[in-house]
C-alpha cells in the first residue's frame, strides 16, 4: 500500500493534468533531459515529484500515525523559437519601412521562452493554490496547509533555433503517515529442483556391461 505522500504526489499530478486545459503537459519525474522540440509552445512540460520530508518527533507517536511535512518539487520546461513577420521581411514587394517595422516587432527566442515559463508558472500556481484544490481531490483532512513556497528560474539554454528554459517551484503540505509495519513478501509455491536419482550412487557411476 502506498504511503500518504505517494498518494498526494499522484493526486497533484492528476489535478494539474485535469486542469491544464491544453496549456501544458504533466509527467512524473524524468531524469533524462528533454529535447527542446518536445516542449515547444503548449507542449511545455510540468513534472511533479516528491523532494523531501520532515517527520517532527513531536507530531507522532511510537506506533503512529506520524505527522509528515512533505515538500514536492515541480519542474517546468518550455522552449520557444524567435518569432516574427517573416512573410513581410521576405516579401520582395515590401517597402523598406514595412521591413523595418516587421524587424522591430521581431521577438527573440529567449524573451519568448521567458514569457512562456512565467505564464506556465502562473497556470501551475493558480491550480495548486486555488481554493477548490486545497485537498487535491483527496478526502478532506488527508492533506493540510498546502503552500507554494518558492519559485526559481534557471539560465536559458540555446538549442538550435529554440531557446529552452527550465524553472521549478516547491510545494509544501502536511499529512499523516500510518505505520503499518513491514508486511513482508508472501512466498509462492516452493518447487524443489534437487535432482534425486535413486540409482545414482556418487562415485560409482559408470557403464554397466552385461555379464
Amino acid at each position: 500500500m502506498n504511503q500518504a505522500y505517494q498518494i498526494i504526489r499522484d493526486s497533484i499530478r492528476r489535478v494539474l493534468a485535469q486542469k491544464a486545459d491544453g496549456e501544458f503537459l504533466v509527467a512524473g519525474y524524468q531524469k533524462r533531459g528533454k529535447g527542446a522540440d518536445q516542449v515547444v509552445s503548449k507542449s511545455r512540460l510540468v513534472e511533479v515529484y516528491y523532494n523531501r520530508g520532515d517527520f517532527p518527533k513531536s507530531g507522532g507517536s511510537q506506533g503512529g500515525p506520524n505527522k509528515h511535512n512533505c515538500t514536492f518539487r515541480i519542474d517546468m520546461t518550455a522552449a520557444e523559437p524567435a518569432k516574427g513577420d517573416k512573410a513581410t521581411i521576405n516579401d520582395p514587394n515590401a517597402t523598406a519601412a514595412e521591413v523595418a517595422q516587421a524587424l522591430e516587432r521581431m521577438k527573440a527566442s529567449d524573451l519568448l521562452a521567458d514569457k512562456s515559463i512565467d505564464e506556465l508558472f502562473g497556470h501551475v500556481y493558480r491550480i495548486l493554490m486555488a481554493a477548490d484544490n486545497q485537498d487535491f481531490d483527496l478526502p478532506v483532512g488527508f492533506v493540510a496547509s498546502r503552500w507554494v513556497d518558492q519559485f526559481n528560474k534557471d539560465e536559458p539554454i540555446e538549442r538550435g533555433k529554440l531557446t529552452i528554459l527550465t524553472a521549478s517551484c516547491l510545494l509544501t503540505c502536511s499529512t499523516s503517515e500510518d505505520v503499518e509495519g513491514y508486511t513482508g513478501v508472501q512466498a509462492g509455491d516452493i518447487v524443489d529442483v534437487t535432482v534425486q536419482l535413486e540409482t545414482d550412487i556418487p562415485g560409482k557411476a559408470g557403464t554397466e556391461t552385461g555379464a
Binding site: G33, P81, A82, N90, V99, A100, E158, G160
Partner: protein, 132 residues
C-alpha cells in the same frame, strides 16, 4: 604594403571568395529596412561571408559537448554599409545549406555580435525565425 592592410585585404580570400568559403549573405538593417546584398568594397560582387552552420556547445545538464544547429556568420567589416551593433535586432538571410544557390532563410541576430574591429571582421550569431 603594411601588414595590417595586407591582412585586411586577405579577408576577401578567407571569407568572401566564392571559389573558397564565401557564401552569399543578405543583411537587413532594423533602423531603415534597407537590405544589403552587394559588397561595399566591390558593388559588382554579392555580399559574402563565411558561414558555420553548426556550433559546438557544452550541455549544462550532462557536461558533454554537443553539436547544435546555430549558424555563425563572419563578415568582412569593410564590405558592410553599416556595422551591426549589439542590442539591435538585425535580420540576416543565408543559404539553407552550404550551397550558394540554395534558398535563403531568414535569421535574427539575438546575441551581441563579436566585433573583431582590429582584425577587420565581425561575427554574427544567428537564430532562425519562425513565422508568427
Amino acid at each position: 604594403m603594411n601588414l595590417r592592410v595586407q591582412a585586411e585585404a586577405d579577408l576577401f580570400d578567407t571569407l568572401e571568395d566564392s571559389d573558397g568559403f564565401g557564401l552569399p549573405v543578405e543583411l537587413i538593417n532594423p533602423d531603415t529596412g534597407a537590405i544589403q546584398t552587394k559588397s561595399a568594397n566591390d558593388p559588382t560582387l554579392d555580399l559574402s561571408g563565411q558561414i558555420l552552420y553548426d556550433t559546438l556547445v557544452v550541455d549544462p545538464q550532462s557536461g558533454l559537448e554537443m553539436v547544435i544547429h546555430k549558424p555563425v556568420v563572419t563578415l568582412r567589416r569593410s564590405s558592410l554599409d553599416v556595422i551591426p551593433e549589439a542590442g539591435k535586432g538585425w535580420g540576416v538571410r543565408i543559404p539553407e545549406t552550404p550551397d550558394p544557390t540554395a534558398n535563403k532563410t531568414l535569421h535574427y541576430v539575438e546575441r551581441a555580435p563579436e566585433d573583431g574591429k582590429a582584425i577587420g571582421f565581425i561575427r554574427l550569431y544567428l537564430t532562425e525565425v519562425v513565422q508568427e
